[in-house]
């Protein structure tokens, strides 16, 4: 009798816990349902709810942590489409592809040719991916593939076509030690320190291209003139937010502010957004105050918004640089703005046509175009910056050209 009573009590407690869990969670999900009905109507409600609810699940990050922790506890290396490499770094599971590099080289070389035909210098900068060249980081049994190899093929192909290139893959990702030092464990991006060093290398190249000695080893790009701020266990990166903090841990995060004075204006689409010192106008430290499970700390270095421009009246170089980039180069644009007077950044992922890059060149009339991309650009259609067709300018661009050709000031 005692045994049966105990079992009944246990089962009753179980049932009550179940009812409380589903009811309370359902109650918290009701606002999301009301929003779905309001936005799409009754007919499309089921599909909208199915799409919306998992993303709005209460305390989703706790469940993500739990799931990742359980995967780790049972020895799994794959969690939510992210894989734990041999060195404990998280990443995508790449698969080989043979058809991406050729078209990418063709489009980029054509873009470079068109830029130079307009009297603008062009520099292609290949950033590294989170893979070491000298080692197979994939877990045992996973086919070896390294996107940096594709990137190096792109660099070699462009160099053969006469495009000026800067290979940073071999600088920052040759060995496993390089990767661990230069990349976040839980995010696909590289660290601010690596971006800073890369900016110095790009500036050196630009000094040669433009014949501008101010860009050759400027003190603004000496790390000793910058203050490093480190936040311990502060960044759960893009991969980490999918797998939770218990799968691969949390990264420390560091960012840099200049010890020297700065006064930089930031524009977007020609309108002034902010003005002041580097921390105020270039960085966005509000990201650091968000909860860790929604904190995109890498966003401190700047957003992926298209057509942002930085004007630094105090810069030692009068160069106008147009940076065609992906998110890896966000820190580099900020650092470069401490040296160059005009730095404009555009993001091909926001373009509506391959020729938008050329239209930006016409619009901003830079001294040099620097294309700064990570290896995933090779496979991304958005980064094929030329359709091979003549560029047609919009009336607005023509109007701007007839005035100053300058949107920053």
């Amino acid at each position: 009798m005692g045994k049966h009573l105990s079992i009944r009590y246990a089962r009753a407690s179980f049932a009550l816990a179940f009812l409380v869990t589903v009811s309370v969670t359902g109650w918290k999900l009701l606002p999301a349902c009301r929003r779905s009905v309001g936005s799409v109507g009754i007919r499309k409600f089921p599909a909208a709810v199915q799409k919306e609810l998992p993303g709005r699940f209460p305390y989703k990050h706790v469940f993500v942590d739990l799931n990742g922790g359980a995967c780790r506890a049972i020895g799994r290396r794959l969690c939510n489409e992210r894989i734990l490499f041999k060195d404990g770094i998280l990443g995508y599971m790449y698969m080989p592809r043979s058809d991406a590099v050729g078209p990418y080289i063709d489009a980029t070389a054509d873009f470079a040719r068109r830029v130079e035909e307009r009297g603008v210098s062009f520099l292609y900068v290949q950033l590294p991916g989170k893979f070491a060249l000298d080692e197979d980081l994939m877990p045992e049994g996973v086919e070896h593939y390294n996107p940096n190899e594709e990137a190096l093929q792109a660099v070699a192909g462009l160099a053969e076509r006469g495009v000026r290139t800067l290979d940073l893959v071999r600088v920052f990702a040759t060995t496993r030690t390089d990767v661990e030092a230069n990349f976040f464990r839980t995010d696909h991006h590289w660290r601010g320190r690596a971006a800073f060093e890369a900016t110095g290398l790009v500036a050196r190249e630009l000094a040669e291209i433009l014949g501008d000695p101010a860009l050759r080893e400027p003190p603004e790009l000496d790390i000793g003139n910058w203050e490093k701020r480190t936040l311990k266990q502060a960044f759960l990166g893009s991969h980490g937010r999918r797998t939770g903090r218990w799968f691969a841990g949390i990264d420390d995060f560091e960012y840099f502010t200049p010890k020297f004075e700065t006064d930089i204006q930031r524009y977007r689409a020609g309108k002034l957004q902010s003005q002041g010192d580097f921390e105020k106008s270039v960085l966005d430290v509000r990201h650091l105050s968000r909860p860790i499970h929604v904190r995109n700390a890498f966003g401190v270095f700047g957003s992926d918004r298209n057509e942002e421009a930085f004007f630094n009246g105090r810069a030692r170089s009068k160069a106008r640089i147009l940076v065609v980039k992906d998110s890896f180069a966000n820190p580099m644009v900020g650092f470069l703005s401490t040296v160059c007077r005009d730095v404009m950044k555009v993001d091909p992922r926001k373009f509506s046509s391959p020729d938008d890059a050329m239209k930006c060149v016409e619009k901003y009339r830079p001294d040099a175009v620097v294309m700064v991309v990570n290896p995933t650009a090779v496979r991304n259609e958005r980064f094929r910056l030329s359709s091979g067709l003549p560029v047609l300018l919009s009336p607005l661009a023509c109007d701007k050209l007839s005035r100053t050709g300058n949107v920053a000031h």
């Binding site: 079992i7 009753a12 049932a15 589903v22 359902g26 290396r77 045992e140 049994g141």
Partner: protein, 483 residues
Amino acid sequence: MLFSSVEFLFLFLPFVLAGYYVLPFRWNLKNYFLLAASLGFYAWGEPKFVFAMLASIAFNYAAALVIERLRERRSRGDRPTESRSRGTRDPTGAKVALAVAVAGNLALIGVWKYCNFVTATLRAWFPSWQGAIPQTSFLLPIGISFFTFQALSYVVDVYRGERAQRNPLLLGLYIALFPQLIAGPIVRYTTVRDQLTARRTTWDQFTAGVFRFVVGFNKKMLLANLMAEVADKAFAGAPGSVSFAWLGAVCYTLQIYFDFSGYSDMAIGLGKMFGFNFLENFNYPYVSKTVTEFWRRWHMSLGSWFRDYVYFPLGGSRVGRGRLVFNLAVVWFLTGLWHGANWTFILWGCLYGVLITGEKLSGWVQKVEGSLVLRLFYQPFTMVMIILGWVLFRAPSIGAAGHHLAAMFGAVPLVDGPAVFWSREMVVPLACALVGSAPVLKARFLSGAWLVAFGYGVQFALFILSISCLVMNAHNPFIYFNF
């Protein structure tokens, strides 16, 4: 709507439970509410096809009443015939009405489920007929095989003497009740007849239902979905190694068991929560000693349906050997066909037909059960045949199945990268799945009160883990969803 979805678990279920227990039983209010909820459940994913189901309910309601009336007229002797002698068929209206009802139900499933397959096959076999035979493209209403078979069993039972349901809404509830609507178990009308109008849910029954539901949910989310990761990769193309081919086949064997039995557990648990007691659908099929025993433990509601409505009417096993072979061939052909409109399913059914026929004709079942030595050989053989059968079942075509089977038996190297990677990834999940597929946890030494209470705690912890999988993996369909 899936049971393992956020909208079902956290919105639909609490709402329906609350509404059900708030409403009184008087005037069938609880039943009508359940019917409305069930129709809403079906319409959530298939708004157009709910009308097909309503039409099926109306048709079978009317058909059963007609059959009963004609049957009672025959039994009252209203139409005596001089030919009522042994061995002479007495074609009564009831039999004709039954034939019409059966034809109507089979037409529903025949058109929606098999028309595309038949037209594609005819066009492939007879290219000159392609002009005359258009390729149809009917969409398959979810759960049509299940609710049509329930309706068929109802009209046949009425013909056999069961009293027809006078209330169309209660018949609708029987056919459309959401716990077993989409993927079974196939519930007989006689099982729930009294429960439709005279059930009372006790607290013990309710809590037992909750526990059963959660166990099924955990099976689906934690075991079936994990096994699916490997199975999907192994069956995506021809496997590159013997070990990966076998790993994929074993993972699919476990996936389909935990997927389907998990769903059945959820259905039975939900039934209990609303006062219904459905019969069991699985009984640890992978511990079977013979193929015959496997089908007494796997999808028992389907096996018993074919036994009672096809095999026995054909004569069962109380016939000569030739007729027995024919009867079994028909049953297993139809079993395969029921599972899907593809030659792989038909071949899968025929495989079991051959094996079971062989066991029956040789008396092998009794021999194996009586001899440990024979069991030591035959039980592994049974398991291997089951696994090979699942390869046929899972493959998208006979050719693909052939490639996979060839890989399993040496047409490719022994080991490759995916085999190494996935076997390491799946060590713990496979171990848990193997333990879970056998009645280990039901052992007597594990029946102490504290251990049982601890087990409840473990299941709840697993439930929370299952929710984490649900939150991260929004899409996780059931295999039998499409039958």
